[in-house]
């Protein structure tokens, strides 16, 4: 049985390691082989980018060698996929190799596309790559006061990030002693402060408490970088001195190019996590088109369900469980406190008041992440 995992991010790495642990006997007996194809030999802890943007982590702390995170039984290649040939049960890679599979797991992730919004690359700061996070930190350090506008593109990775940014900005400027010289305003594309209703309800009084102005139904249309004006699809305009955006995201180009899913999001069964119409293809993490958060946490819980099912199919011929939509998101409410949102397809989150121990839990998790992707937690 050849299991091919495409993608070496959070989802792909957990899947490969979890399967390797579950199928140790079968791998030793030569009945199962696990191969991973990744675009990079390094693995990045992506949630750490927000900390880099506020000077709380340095970029080197975000990386580990991918090979060091994988079980030794996993065959690992740094060779991105160029083409999916699902009818032939093959994928072709950039190096020209063809890999055949019996089970394919697609975990190619997502990417921000600020270049698709006119003026965004030149006129706004963001933190979804190492370079942009460092640049944003430098801009924040230089900022002397004025209007800081935050706006959100959709869809995007880590839905809690826009809320966390506001708390972090408040604490950052307080620590610099210039909070009274800064106006903070939050713009969100739908008719409330967050896509998850209970997070929106929780955020409203919290934003009022820290003095954040808000505007909903604001979808970024274009940014006039020269005159520092952001325009919305709804026809409104806002002037800014510093603009921070959460850029819209798409799935990877190869997914779109091979017509596996519109926008790079693959149509996926919400319970089995199989690609619609393909019994031997699983989709995990950001790559799915599921109505759950595009976060490492969702990827983690999806990976567990997929691995349990693949292992049981190999061992007893049947899957044993469904993915229930579980997501667990930490919410940093500034640099001192945090809370969390846990929810699934049936139960909305019930947010608790932020606390210091939860903040420590979150920063502890920044380190425990490596234990998590190794398939231990």
């Amino acid at each position: 049985m050849r299991i091919l995992v495409v993608g070496g991010g959070t989802a792909g790495t957990i899947v490969a390691n979890n399967l390797s642990r579950r199928l140790t006997g079968e791998i030793r007996a030569g009945k199962v082989r696990i191969t991973m194809l990744s675009a990079s030999d390094r693995h990045m802890y992506q949630p750490g980018l927000l900390y880099v943007a506020f000077g709380q982590m340095t970029p080197d702390q975000l990386y580990r060698d991918q090979a060091s995170l994988l079980e030794p039984t996993i065959e690992f290649h740094v060779d991105p996929v160029k083409q999916f040939l699902l009818d032939k049960k093959q994928v072709k890679t950039e190096s020209g190799k063809t890999h055949e599979y019996d089970i394919l797991v697609i975990a190619t992730g997502s990417r921000m596309v600020p270049e698709e919004t006119p003026g965004m690359t030149e006129g706004a700061e963001f933190f979804y790559t190492e370079a942009s996070a460092v640049k944003m930190y430098k801009k924040l350090r230089e900022f002397k006061g004025g209007r800081v506008m935050v706006a959100v593109g959709v869809p995007h990775k880590c839905p809690i990030a826009p809320v966390e940014v506001m708390f972090s900005l408040d604490d950052f400027f307080k620590a610099r002693g210039i909070r009274d010289k800064v106006q903070l305003k939050y713009h969100y594309p739908i008719g409330r402060l967050h896509t998850i209703e209970n997070v929106a309800k929780w955020a409203k009084p919290e934003f009022e408490r820290i003095g954040v102005d808000t505007e909903t139904l604001f979808n970024i249309k274009e940014i006039d970088a020269k005159n520092k004006i952001m325009k919305s699809e709804e026809g409104t305009e806002v002037e800014y001195d510093l603009l921070i955006v959460i850029p819209a995201h798409r799935g990877m180009e190869v997914i779109e190019r091979d017509n596996l899913g519109s926008g790079g999001w693959i149509p996926t069964d919400r319970y089995s996590l199989k690609m619609n119409g393909h019994d031997d293809v699983y989709v995990v993490g950001d790559t799915t088109n599921l109505p759950v958060s595009k976060t490492g946490s969702a990827a983690h819980f999806q990976a567990e369900a997929i691995c349990e099912n693949i292992a049981s199919i190999i061992k007893i011929g049947e899957p044993v469980r469904d993915y229930d939509g579980k997501v667990y998101c930490f919410i940093e409410a500034g640099h001192e406190k945090a809370t969390y949102a846990m929810f699934n397809y049936l139960n909305p989150p019930d947010l608790k008041p932020p606390s210091k121990p939860m903040h420590w839990f979150k920063i502890s998790y920044n380190h425990m992440y490596w234990t998590s992707v190794r398939g231990l937690l």
């Binding site: 920063i363 502890s364 992440y369 234990t371 231990l376």
Partner: protein, 141 residues
């Protein structure tokens, strides 16, 4: 016959319990005050690496086998003998005059019965090890 009614002060806590709770809360507060993000980072990082290391060690067949062998009483005695031997050899080396070198020196050294015993022990271990390695490769493990 009299009927007893429960008193309003039937609290599950007495003053002593409450005092202890207050003291515990003070302890938690003081731990929180004493800790910093940096400390939490270091502790969490050590824990994470420690757990990963422990995981690798406990699932390493070679090490598990080694541990099983070390548990055998005769091997524990072997380790004691080996560590004693290292200690004694280190002391003897410190006081022994340097060797003159050359074939003569080598002949003098290997004509010592103690050295010959040592070489025989190494030969036994070498022979067993090569047999074991041959078996491992034969079974493709």
């Amino acid at each position: 016959m009299t009927t007893q009614t429960p008193t309003a002060s039937a609290s599950p806590f007495n003053d002593n319990d409450l005092q202890r709770l207050v003291e515990f809360a003070q302890l938690v507060t003081s731990v929180q005050d004493a800790m910093s993000d940096d400390m939490v980072n270091r502790l969490a990082s050590t824990m994470s690496e420690g757990i990963s290391l422990l995981d690798r060690l406990t699932r390493n067949d070679g090490l598990t086998h080694l541990l099983r062998e070390i548990d055998r009483p005769e091997n524990q005695r072997f380790i004691i003998c080996m560590s004693n031997a290292f200690t004694q050899a280190s002391r003897e080396l410190a006081t022994a005059p340097p060797l003159g070198g050359g074939l003569g020196g080598l002949l003098k050294l290997i004509s010592d019965p103690g050295v010959q015993e040592g070489l025989r022990l190494l030969a036994f271990v070498g022979a067993r090890m090569s047999n074991s390695l041959r078996e491992v490769h034969r079974h493709g493990l």
